[in-house]
Amino acid sequence: MNRWLAALLYALLCAVTFVVCFPLLWAISTSLKPKEEIFRWPPTLLPERFTFESYRELLFGGSAASAPGAGTPPSDFFLHWFANSIIVSVGSTVISITVATLAAYSLTRFRFFGQRAVPYVAIMGYMIPSVIFVFPMFLTLVELDLTDTLLGLTLGYVCITLPFCLWLMWAFFRGVPLEIEEAALVDGASRLQVFRQIVLPVALPGIIAASIFAFIVSWNDYLFGRVFMNSMELLPLTVGVMHFFDGTHVDWGLMMASSVLMTVPMAILFGFMQRHLVAGFGAGAVKG
């Protein structure tokens, strides 16, 4: 009976895994097909003839298919978009994590007015859908002359990622026992040493979790990039790839190749972080 149950469970897990993975596999498959094979009916699961044409076009430019007289083809901007996305995602993640970690630490360790309210207000701010404040924020950026700049977009992402990062780090620091810091103080460490050598290593799993969150939100965002950015060479990837859809026809080969390349940083990020994420979680225990 138990074996049957296990077999059933495995079958179920395989099915779920397939459903989750299928879009990605389909994207990979499509990105490797020649253009004439993409729309063939019945569709082919695996490309009959492999081609890296779409990737070549994205990474090295020079689209032969672009209409004459249409100016630079959108695929030539792909590396710009990719770099833009990396810059704003890494930038907003670094800013959010730095501010959130320091703020959360002070919220749990020092006494000041409004100390208890801040994390709750922050999390409530996070619950407001970003579509509500994207336009007020756009007007603010206009005032600051930061529209259509990577800095403006980065700050926009900080606004949506910081509250949740703060909440996450706050919850994490509350679980770090004060006594280990006191022990380090008695051992002769300075406040800064305590923070760097004792608190940060303990908080690492929390920092990694918050970083992954902030990076994903920034990397996947479409709305802010669409509203704040204008110049072709300053767009983030999500907004940029929409130019492969020109109103009359969609270049699915480029679209799918872009999607595959877009997932690469995420895959690398998870590959590296996962180990730390899992390794760190048991670390908080000090009680006997």
Partner: protein, 356 residues
């Protein structure tokens, strides 16, 4: 060679006064226990000595040096926390050596000192492990090692045994005492467990509500409690405390006359204290005994506790040999050992007999 002198020390958290103008001298090389119920201010006092809290008033000196303005790291103290407070991301070796590391002591010396301490504590085989891979007793030893490796002037310990199981606690009591005798470092030890205080200390400081009730050797606080609080707090089962009166040099409890000399100038109404161990069973009607009837009998191994009702809501407990039997509701009498009777002033709670 560091004695700790505390004078006029007060500490308030908001309007809550935790310590009230406290004076205390901890002699050099002694093992001194701060003993009291939870909330009596003993941990706060320890944290003030460590520098983890700021005093509201008063001063703390280590020898000649005033320390209450110094940061914890500048006081050359080591502290063992109730939760051990090991650094979870560091190995046992680095946990022990961290204090040396931040003091910029070179790696060869650090390694040597960590090794020496680990050898004494028998944790050499654990040095590479992380705290989460240790048992409670092993963590306790690492915390102790971290304190010992720095060769501090003073050890501060905040209920270090309370997270251990009973058997390990008993073993560690002996070991801690042994380490203290070997190292000779002034130690201030906080506990609410009177057994720990009695077995380990050179001096016991009994505290209640932020005030020192009595300072003395374990024998002194047990045999000559300075006031009603100490009398009731020290000793298991607790001392019997019953109202008594004296007239014309004769002391009586619930009408029974007892052959006790009352110190001159004592008020007519008194509180009489007698430990359960100092009461013997007698026949009702014997002279110098207190009669009543058996209320409850409990066997606690080699001893038996007999609780006798003298009058409504007035009961005395005697601890007698287990072979002494008694049946509930039987008439019985207790004979107090006159030399072991304590008398207290009900108005002040102060002992009238402690100076004896």
């Amino acid at each position: 060679m560091t004695d700790v002198v505390i004078s006029g020390l007060s500490k308030s958290f908001g309007s809550n006064r935790v310590l009230q103008s406290l004076d205390l001298r901890v002699p050099s090389r002694q093992f001194v226990t701060l003993l009291g119920p939870s909330g009596c201010g003993k941990t706060t006092l320890l944290r003030l000595i460590a520098g983890l809290e700021k005093s509201s008033q008063g001063e703390i000196r280590f020898g000649e040096k005033r320390v209450d303005t110094l940061a914890p790291g500048d006081r050359n103290i080591a502290m063992v926390f109730q939760s051990y407070a090991l650094y979870p991301t560091m190995s046992v070796a680095r946990n022990i050596g961290y204090g040396l590391e931040v003091r910029r002591i070179g790696k060869p010396e650090r390694t040597a000192r960590i090794g020496a301490v680990a050898k004494v504590l028998e944790i050499l085989h654990l040095l590479a492990r992380k705290p989460k891979a240790l048992s409670g007793g092993q963590r306790q030893r690492v915390a102790l090692g971290r304190a010992m490796v720095r060769k501090p002037d003073i050890f501060l310990m905040d209920e270090p045994l309370s997270n251990l199981d009973a058997k390990l606690r008993a073993a560690m009591r002996g070991e801690l005492r042994r380490f203290h005798l070997d190292l000779g470092t002034t130690t201030i030890y906080v506990t609410h467990d009177q057994l720990e205080a009695m077995t380990m200390s050179d001096l016991v400081v009994v505290m209640n509500e932020g005030v020192v009730q009595q300072i003395g050797t374990p024998e002194e606080v047990y045999a000559r409690p300075a006031n009603l609080f100490v009398a009731g707090f020290i000793g298991t089962p607790p001392m019997n405390l019953v109202p008594a009166r004296h007239e014309g040099g004769v002391l009586s409890v619930a009408g029974a006359k007892l052959p006790v000399a009352v110190p001159p100038g004592a008020p007519a109404e008194l509180i009489l204290g007698i430990r359960p161990q100092d009461l013997g069973v007698a026949r009702p009607g014997d002279a110098g005994t207190i009669p009543g009837k058996v209320w409850m009998v409990e066997l606690i191994g080699s001893e038996r506790l007999i609780e006798m009702e003298v009058a409504p809501k007035l009961r005395l407990t005697a601890e007698v040999r287990a072979r002494q039997r008694a049946a509930i509701d039987d008439a019985i009498a207790f004979r107090p050992d006159p030399a072991q009777i304590h008398l207290f002033d009900p108005a002040t709670g102060a002992s009238l007999t402690a100076a004896r």
